[in-house]
Symmetry: C2
């Protein structure tokens, strides 16, 4: 057992999966869900996903040993500040946001030194959203990036790492800036590219798509507002990786852009296959 009482702010796909995994692995004695929809939270309680729920932060977090914020990234700073006001002084606070620099550096400016906060990002998820898609094994063998910052308690990263490991995940420490540069390449750019491909599909060509198109664009089924907020918070990282990507594509054709540069494209496809094969299915 890692925590006596764990509070989860935002019981969607990720928050719900944290609740189920915590329950399945006995990582907390009591799980509290906090969110705006009493209907969904009461259903989650009846299904045993959480033990109690609150629509307000204060009663939800004031007895918690640890609070995990699973809201959209643009709400994390506000939630963490409010949790810091309402929770016990030594309560551990973390988040699961897909961006880290804006959140962690913003909170370092806004919270007193030594607060027990550390940013986190489980590299797991789905294009689906909502607690009905929650999965107790979502974090099994997946990587969680934890982003320590000197302004906060040095104990927080260790406690959060122990919690994620209890849920079956591997943990890696990175600076918020390195994290954001990395996920720009591994997640944010692929999402934008998939969306651009999906958006340019004319209605009459839908029947001409096969598994390749479906795989390549699957993430484009994700929530547009969540992803707009992610892109905004990692604007610089996304811009840099997009520039590199556009340059690569620009080299595929020569002359007035109408002749394929066969040698370049063949080399690109070989590099791509080597990298992709190394990832496995």
């Amino acid at each position: 057992m890692i925590f006596r009482t764990l509070a989860i702010v935002g019981v969607g796909l990720i928050g719900g999966s944290i609740a189920l995994a915590t329950r399945a692995r006995g990582a907390a004695q009591r799980i509290i869900g906090i969110g705006p929809s009493g209907f969904h939270l009461e259903k989650a309680r009846q299904q045993g996903m959480i033990d109690e729920w609150h629509s307000e932060l204060e009663p939800g977090v004031h007895n918690a040993d640890a609070v995990v914020v699973c809201t959209p990234v643009d709400e994390v700073i506000g939630q963490v500040r409010a949790i810091h006001c309402f929770a016990r002084p030594n309560a551990l606070i973390t988040d699961v946001g897909s961006t880290k620099a804006v959140i962690v550096n913003g909170l370092a400016r806004l919270l007193p030194a030594g607060v027990c906060f550390v940013g986190g990002h489980p590299l797991a998820g789905s294009e689906k959203s909502g607690p009905q898609f929650a999965d107790a094994n979502l974090f099994e063998n997946r990587l969680v990036v934890v982003t320590p910052h000197g302004h906060f308690s040095p104990d927080a990263p260790r406690s959060v790492a122990a919690f994620w490991q209890a849920l079956g995940a591997r943990v890696k420490e990175m600076t918020p800036e390195d994290h954001d540069k990395a996920v720009a390449i591994t997640s944010h750019l692929p999402h934008l590219v998939a969306a651009a491909l999906a958006a340019m599909l004319p209605l009459e060509l839908r029947e001409l798509t096969a598994t390749g198109f479906r795989d390549t664009t699957r993430v484009a089924g994700g929530d547009p507002d969540l992803w707009t907020a992610i892109f905004q918070q990692n604007e610089a990282g996304l811009a840099a990786s997009l520039e590199h990507f556009q340059k690569t594509l620009g080299c595929c054709f020569t002359g007035w852009g109408m002749r394929l540069d066969t040698d370049f494209v063949q080399a690109l496809l070989k590099d791509a296959k080597r990298n992709r094969d190394a990832l496995g299915s």
Copy 2:
């Protein structure tokens, strides 16, 4: 039963799946495999995928009612010309190439009028290759595009359509040119984009990829030479769809390319989600 004797030139993933599906659905009495590797073809024969095999075209096709060419696209024209020489005068010849205009128009210039040829393209496949990945159900409920041309026998499209329908597929007729424009958007551009994403992944970021990156880049595991040949044969279609795609991405950032155009990106993500949701999983 559609054919007495079906010859398949190139018994890889697609050729092997045609053999298995033909066998499973009784669409031909006898199946002949033709290809360079006696080792693989003998194995396929022993497993019952084919009834006999030949390394040379002439003995392989001279008794066939129908011949399906399943070679890389840049070999199709040469194979079909040779088959026309060696096969019975009224034997049906078709192919499964991912491009159609270069192949069909090229053959229309090279073959006598009235030959029983029609181009075809089953929109099914995999990033894997080889007969060991063949699947008797690969074409079930999948679309096969058939591309008639006035130079050839008007009976060929109907016979080929009946064959594919017997294997469980749906059939759609298109001109070779319309086919190539369409698959540039639904298949060739997504493949190039997936490859560019996979190629730019630094070694040290491999551990930071999750299911999203894997889905988006899955097709990049395909054979580089096969796909270089496909891109060459659909150079104009690919160039046009790539230009549209790059313009779309170019609109995502404003100013000197560093500020996200939030309204544009949010609208793009919404269009993308609507289109992607319509395709199903």
